[in-house]
Point group: C2
Chain length 407, copies 2
């Protein structure tokens, strides 16, 4: 059994069972056995002989946190949309870009045309960017295939990329991301195909951990969404939902009726929607990268979420269009700067609450005995500095299951 003792550090455990917003332990040590935290506490309290024979890793006074959890990404895709970014800033309208085959349709076309290996390679590179920024657990959605073959390729590529990079992964089926051009006049057929054909097939292959949909005026209606969430629930799969990003569609309440793991975006969340989420134990996933990139002005109702004790997660929403954000510390900074979260709320959002939004809170997301030894090591004077700096590259070191990783 491999045993490692991390010492000479301070720990922001994010464990709510410990006092203070950070669950901090000064002069801490962490004993890792077989990839899990076997003991954590002040070095002075470590029982004599408890760490005997363990390899000792001196962290030289750094702060440690749980490795970060990015619970909402769309990082499997092909193509490059920086040309559209340039066009928009040069005065070309979204509409003209869309008419010319740009926007999400460009990504769908490029993704359908790409090989599985290309999808896996490019996804691995993006996962490694997130890892450099401190991420050890990532969620990846499908939704740029919009047919069985390409949705399947995306989920396979996600699995392969995460395996190569060495991160924990959960895969989400997002067939209801956009209506593909070939179904433009047959919406209902598309929704039924995804819910009753593609989802069960991909689930049968073990490729689906959760099901999501884009419930929005420019996405799918609440009724269409309901059909998909019902199909997921019937298969025993947990659901999540893109809800209330650009308008209030009642998506949060719909998600809550399905006991959703999370409702995501939520700029237009109503009080009723929030109450339903609180009732159902649904996590609010806030995505400041999209808010920033789209120059939105409507803020998610953070005070309401706080008042109702709804856990707030933060994620990058990494995607090629509305949120090309590849840094977890920057998502944390944006959560504070743009949405007004405290640094501790933001860090909890990208650790403990992100893990809950993914349904992996019993594996990772805080530093506690029994959980994975996924540890980020920050050469900073206090944990709030992770949130305060803008554009921080990431932690000095990252350990997943107790092993050093080199992104």
């Amino acid at each position: 059994m491999s045993r490692t003792l991390f010492h000479a550090c301070h720990a922001a455990t994010l464990d709510p069972a410990r006092p203070g917003v950070w669950g901090a332990i000064e002069d801490a040590c962490v004993l890792v056995e077989s990839g899990r935290i076997a003991w954590i506490g002040p070095l002075a309290d470590l029982p004599a002989d408890r760490a005997e024979g363990a390899v000792r890793v001196d962290l030289q006074g750094c702060w440690i946190t749980p490795a970060l959890v990015d619970c909402h990404t769309h990082l499997v895709f092909a193509g490059d949309r920086s040309g559209e970014f340039e066009q928009r800033l040069s005065g070309v309208s979204y509409e003209a870009i869309a008419r010319a085959g740009g926007g999400i349709r460009a990504t769908v076309a490029a993704t359908r045309a790409a090989s599985l290996e290309t999808l896996a390679e490019t996804a691995e590179a993006r996962i490694r960017l997130l890892m450099r920024s401190g991420v050890g657990t990532v969620e990846i959605k499908s939704g740029y295939g919009l047919d069985l073959q390409t949705e399947r390729a995306m989920l396979l590529a996600a699995g392969e990329a995460a395996r190569r990079a060495g991160v924990r992964l959960r895969r989400t089926f997002l067939g209801l991301h956009a209506l593909p051009p070939e179904y433009e006049s047959r919406r209902a057929d598309y929704v039924r195909l995804m819910a009753h054909g593609v989802l069960p097939a991909l689930h049968a292959e073990g490729l689906v951990d959760a099901v999501d949909a884009f419930c929005e005026t420019i996405g799918f209606t609440p009724d269409e969404t309901e059909l998909m969430l019902g199909a997921a629930t019937a298969l025993g799969l947990p659901v999540r939902l893109h809800a209330e990003q650009l308008s209030d569609q009642g998506g949060a309440a719909l998600a809550a009726r399905h006991r959703a793991l999370s409702a995501d975006h939520l700029e237009y969340l109503s009080e009723d929607g929030a109450r339903a989420m609180a009732e159902a134990g649904t996590v609010a996933v806030l995505l400041p990268g999209a808010f920033y990139a789209l120059r939105e002005t409507r803020l998610p109702p953070v005070d309401l979420l706080r008042a109702l004790n709804i856990p707030m997660a933060l994620a990058t929403d990494l995607n090629p269009g509305s949120s090309p954000l590849v840094s977890a510390p920057l998502a944390i900074n944006m959560g504070c700067t743009l949405f007004g979260l405290t640094p501790a709320e933001a860090l909890a959002g990208m650790t403990r609450h992100g893990a809950k939004a993914m349904g992996v809170e019993h594996e990772c997301g805080l530093l506690r005995e029994g959980l994975a030894a996924d540890i980020a090591v920050w050469d900073l004077p206090q944990p709030a500095a992770i949130a305060c700096w803008i554009g921080l590259p990431g932690p000095e070191r990252l350990f997943l299951a107790g092993e050093a990783v080199q992104p």
Copy 2:
């Protein structure tokens, strides 16, 4: 004589003498002799034998740009203000923080108490963060000492840090950054001391490349600023100015009267001020990091600057309070996303125009024969992608004077 041929790349030269917004060369090569660009153009046009005997560096299809230029930073300082960031987000007012000795006063106190070696070490670490993000030339201001001894220590530390890190440096004296507590009732004495005592002394030691002041309601009046700029001009030193950040003080016109290299911030720039800058050839330095961190809403008048052909530079404004931004590509992205610059304008802002704002445009800031071979290598499909991604760590490789550097 060392000779290197960089090949198998595309070049965004940012050279206005070449066609297109990027001054792009596809299938380019760059011949470097003794740290300077001896030849640049399409590989097919390289004269036979021109590169004979040169070491060949295969850039594997990457795009190259000039190494980035960060023309406005305050990166020499001691102390840590992330605790204030946390307090503010937890509901403590700026006023309460200031009353408790926080804000810039906290940085002044910590900087005065720090050793020269501590200042140099921490500054070097920050320069290395900028280098990881692609920076090869940096400006550093004094202004957290506010007395002869500490202003001097800051400029010495800046020199030592840049030397150790291996970047090109210009140092700016910013004695009129804030009024130190010991001069609270003697403003005029402080301004005279800085302009007629401290500036000449530091200049005599060769520590000052330019002179700046914070002309603002919460900084120094136009008359006080005038006194300092006049003293600088009398010494033959170029000037720059923090102008029109929070209000229109007529600072841009004042700077222009002194043929300033740059006027910086400029959210409240008037048309008259802009015309004066255009007349004087003064660069507009835009600082989106401070705009972002302070949640400002008033945008600098980019259309006006464009209409008057005023060169727009971008910089991080790296400082511990109002802009703790440590990434040059993120400053470029913010220039586009927040201020509406095109990707090519933003990249020119952090290369060619940044160099002009520092007075080093004859040394660096574009890829052209005779200039320094300061080259950033980006593994991206097109140069606009540098601006499009949010939180990009930096280039794959960085060469300064033709030599690979390891930040």
